[in-house]
């Protein structure tokens, strides 16, 4: 037996967005040579749920549609975590399963109905450092397909009034080709 300090993800947060004190206390591991994997399955008294198998680029591509269909579940889960006073990991498992099932349903639906557009968009993102403004043409096609088939819409909350939301502007100032994108 050897004694080790462990480092996991713990909180999904972004450096540039909010200085999370908990995440600061959880510094990243340095010079770590080994990892600790525990393969004990979940105990039987907790219902099982299929985890989501989409990776970063497809998730980013589908994020606004997940946000559109699953807003209620997402808000429920985050509210539960917020109000559970440090016991959210145990008490919000049910809400968490709903969140996962809903997001998986969105990804499954996009895969069934708009596979080509979806694939074009996330491959474009993957080849362009996951920068949304480089991939407006596949994004417009994906958005219209998803809206026609699934009725999910990409909306950008909090954008200034009276301006075209940035994802609908034909010209993207920061794209490699800044002219009309489609």
């Amino acid at each position: 037996m050897r004694f080790h300090c462990t480092f996991g993800v713990n909180f999904w947060t972004f450096e540039s967005f909010q200085p999370n004190t908990a995440a600061m206390a959880n510094r990243e591991a340095r010079f770590n040579q080994t990892v600790l994997v525990d393969t004990t399955p979940m105990p039987d008294h907790i219902p099982k749920v299929e985890e989501i198998g989409a990776t970063s680029a497809p998730l980013l591509s589908a994020s606004y549609f997940i946000g559109d269909r699953c807003k209620a579940y997402n808000d429920d889960f985050m509210k539960c975590k917020d109000e559970s006073n440090g016991r959210g990991e145990f008490d919000c498992l049910k809400e968490g399963r709903k969140v996962t099932r809903c997001a998986a349903s969105v990804i499954k639906d996009i895969n069934t109905h708009c596979l080509d557009q979806f694939k074009a968009h996330w491959e474009c993102l993957e080849n362009n450092n996951h920068q949304l403004w480089e991939c407006r043409r596949p994004e417009v096609q994906l958005n219209s397909c998803v809206f026609d088939k699934l009725g999910l819409k990409k909306t950008l909350p909090g954008a200034p009034e009276g301006q075209v939301p940035v994802h609908l502007r034909p010209k993207q100032k920061y794209a490699q080709y800044p002219g009309p994108q489609w």
């Binding site: 037996m1 050897r2 004694f3 080790h4 300090c5 462990t6 996991g8 713990n10 909180f11 999904w12 947060t13 972004f14 967005f17 080994t34 990892v35 994997v37 525990d38 004990t40 399955p41 979940m42 105990p43 749920v49 985890e51 989501i52 998730l59 980013l60 994020s63 606004y64 997940i66 946000g67 699953c70 579940y73 997402n74 889960f77 985050m78 975590k81 006073n85 440090g86 016991r87 959210g88 990991e89 145990f90 919000c92 498992l93 809400e95 968490g96 399963r97 969140v99 996962t100 997001a103 949304l132 403004w133 950008l156 909350p157 909090g158 954008a159 939301p165 940035v166 100032k173 920061y174």
Partner: protein, 119 residues
Amino acid sequence: MPQDMPPTGGYAQVQYKRNIPARGFKPAYYMIGMHVIMAYGFYKYFHGAREQRELAREKMWSRHHLTPLLQAEEDRDQVRRHYADKAREKELLGTDIKVYNSDRFVRPTFAYTPSNLTQ
């Protein structure tokens, strides 16, 4: 002996003024030109900064929409490992032990790892 006197009719004028034609425009025009260029630069800068702000907003909202599902996945994993740790402790010690006088979830900071590494 007579003193040295100026020549009759006096000395010629000393030329101390420079007689170079003024080149270019009036200074005021250069001032105006500089301000026009700067105004154009600031115009482009403000529009670019606005677009960057919107792009940042778009990125943040996409992450907002993904946070719950990733966090749910992570929480399930933490709970699974917590129960696994509990089961191991129970097996080794024979009793349920509580480390903290609190029922909050605490991710273990320190862990004993198996002595033979598998990977």
